[in-house]
Symmetry: C2
Subunit: 415 residues, 2 copies
């Protein structure tokens, strides 16, 4: 039964995608603007659906409850997000390159819609609006499978978009929400490569792993961030402290927050107690290796797992390293390849760090918190890719498209 249910969704998504691919930018932008307006008009309906979700979700953590909760402001932010997307340049049909071959053929490469995109996500109902908006503008129909706790909120939001699409004479199946939130259905969804061109999981490490291991659809992994800051021997310590405090404490729950602090041994004696005191005064729990613990009190011994863990919380682990080589080796062995920073005044060390660290975003003398589509000027993002294929780092509209070669001839055949 699950198979039939998903098959039907797949067929409809593919059909919707081919009609969507033919819309002009104006048509898409108008639809997005109407969706934003309609979201605002539906605030009461969405809030009461969310209220039900909140009631049904009895045994969840406070952090999860916060992610699940919708407010007037949060719904207004979704609408604002759709208007921002309407204002962004349309990536579809952009010709990236075009040249003529010696035989007179003209070969161009242009961006085309991906086709059908599926998104599997967890608590936040705002993903329903963001993912629809980005996929729609990028010309792809979207199949959404949110967390079961958010099902009523997600359904209320998706219904708004379905209604707007229908009122415009467009195919409502451009966005479909999977209402069967069983694990079994999610697993089957991951095998639907005959209909779906791209699967993006948005959520914790467990979800990402499940998708990577089970999907036959091409996947882009997003979001796990075990980010490092390395304070080199020559760092300007006046600049270093605010960067570290910012990267750890400004928003500890997000994936570009710093989770690990590596400190060069030659500056450890003074810098470890100073930075730990500042972090602790902001409520940060500090874990560390034995060498770090020698320089200050109040450091909880870190175990082997700590070095591979994304805390997503006010916790940081401090490690003393002998030199840059040690720092690079440790980071490349333990990071999730999201964002890492070196704080240094050494030209050579900054270049080596930029070259040798194998992560999506590598910083010199700045906070890891900047790894973000908005900060990078993309206008909006669907997530931050930590894999190497197709897209790496913040993913905007362009990263949601594919390309195709178009070739203009006048009778050429191969010699």
């Amino acid at each position: 039964m699950t198979t039939e249910y998903l098959d039907d969704i797949g067929v409809k998504a593919k059909k919707a995608a081919s009609a969507l691919a033919r819309l002009t930018s104006n048509e898409k932008n108008m639809a997005l603007t109407l969706c934003a307006e309609s979201l605002e008009k539906s605030i009461d309906d969405i809030l009461s659906a969310n209220e039900e979700d909140m009631k049904n979700a009895a045994d969840i953590t406070d952090a999860y409850r916060d992610r699940l909760r919708l407010t007037k402001n949060r719904i207004a932010d979704m609408a604002k997000g759709l208007r921002v997307i309407a204002g962004l340049p349309d990536p579809v049909n952009e010709v990236i390159a075009m040249k003529s071959l010696p035989n007179g053929l003209i070969v161009g490469q242009k961006r085309v819609p991906m086709g059908v995109i599926a998104i599997i996500y967890e608590a936040r109902p705002n993903v329903t609006a963001d993912a629809f908006g980005l996929c729609f503008k990028a010309g792809s129909s979207v199949i959404l499978r949110g967390g079961k706790e958010a099902i009523k909120s997600n359904a209320a939001i998706a219904q708004v978009f379905n209604n707007v699409l229908q009122s415009l004479g467009l195919d409502a199946n451009i966005v479909q929400l999977i209402t069967d939130t069983s694990r079994e259905t999610a697993r089957e969804l991951m095998k639907l490569n005959r209909y779906i061109d791209l699967l993006i999981p948005r959520g914790g490490a467990g979800l990402i792993r499940a998708v990577t291991e089970n999907s036959t659809i091409p996947v882009i992994e997003t979001g796990v961030g075990n980010c490092h800051i390395f304070v080199d021997e020559s760092a300007d310590l006046q600049k270093a402290a605010p960067i570290i405090i910012n990267a750890k404490t400004q928003r500890p729950g997000v994936c570009n927050a710093a989770e690990k602090l590596l400190i060069h041994q030659s500056i450890a004696r003074d810098f470890v107690p100073a930075i730990c005191e500042q972090l602790q005064s902001k409520g940060v729990q500090i874990r560390g290796d034995e060498r770090a613990a020698r320089f200050t009190s109040g450091i909880i011994p870190a175990n082997d797992d700590d070095w591979d863990t994304e805390y997503s919380d006010l916790i940081i682990a401090v490690k003393i390293v002998d030199n840059l080589d040690d720092a690079i080796e440790h980071i490349n062995a333990h990071s999730s390849r999201h964002s890492e920073a070196i704080l240094t005044e050494s030209y050579t060390n900054s270049q080596r760090f930029l070259n040798e660290i194998d992560s999506a975003a590598v910083y010199v003398n700045a906070s890891t918190r900047f790894t973000d589509g908005g900060e990078f000027g993309f206008g909006a993002e669907i997530g931050i890719s930590t894999q190497k294929l197709h897209a790496r780092g913040p993913m905007g509209l362009k990263e949601l498209t594919s390309t195709k070669y178009i070739i203009y001839g006048n009778g050429q055949y191969r010699q």
Copy 2:
């Protein structure tokens, strides 16, 4: 035991990759040139290894036997291929874009090596040299798993490269050949996502399917080509015939050869007999739908499977369509999304075909045989991607790289 064997290969490949990533273009080009020279000096050894493979492979088809066979010329071609790769621009460290953000951060995006690439392939031993050369220049170590029939030839070729690398003081594990050619080991290789960044299958539809269904490593599908030519009502039939003959007969075994011919009903009466006669005179077997068979004799009835089959042989299936819509619908339903062509003098129809056909390469008035890295000016190719993620169409050196963001700051933290 297999697990340990592959684990060891994975660890060594990852270690070799990080050293390889630091080589300059000059160092890589010199190594490639020496590999080419050494291949030429080893012709006798390689030929005698190939002789053994040919003896051991008793019950294989003639076509397979031809793919397996090495000759002096074929080895010289491999050496030439390596020299061509040495002469191509190095994609690694190319900065694609760089801009400054309002807060003074400078954000650049540069090409970086993929890391570790695995290639699973079938009969042709020349893939051993081509894949090594391209991956090496693109800065990635490579794990090769060729067909069991070619094991001695592949081992002899890989040994040449291992020796050259060692003689240059480089890590010989930059290229590793898997000598255990069991299916079980291939299946386990597909799960090694902790070491391998990209898996490329090169071979028939069966291999591609097995990899897509089993791999936990990001995959790029290559090569299956059920390519179509649509002859529109307004086609210049003088130009059409040579294009069709070329696309079908110039090299029927390759993936960009035409397999299907769709003909507009309004020109069928004259054109079907004319083109069939020309194709038959070149030894092409013609299958077709009922309507096509009405216009000429000697057409074998096509069954449902024909429309989805890549013959890779001197066979073509002919179908009469009512109009452009019919043609587009049939192609998007049955093609393998490789290469399709329209032959037309209609501006509107040419644009619709270019826009609405969902394939890697879409042609107007030219043969599908041009879908090729060499023809497109890439200098060399690792294969032709028929998927939408990361790379679509012929894949050259750039498509074997990833990117990373590099960010230059001077103390910035997020407000």
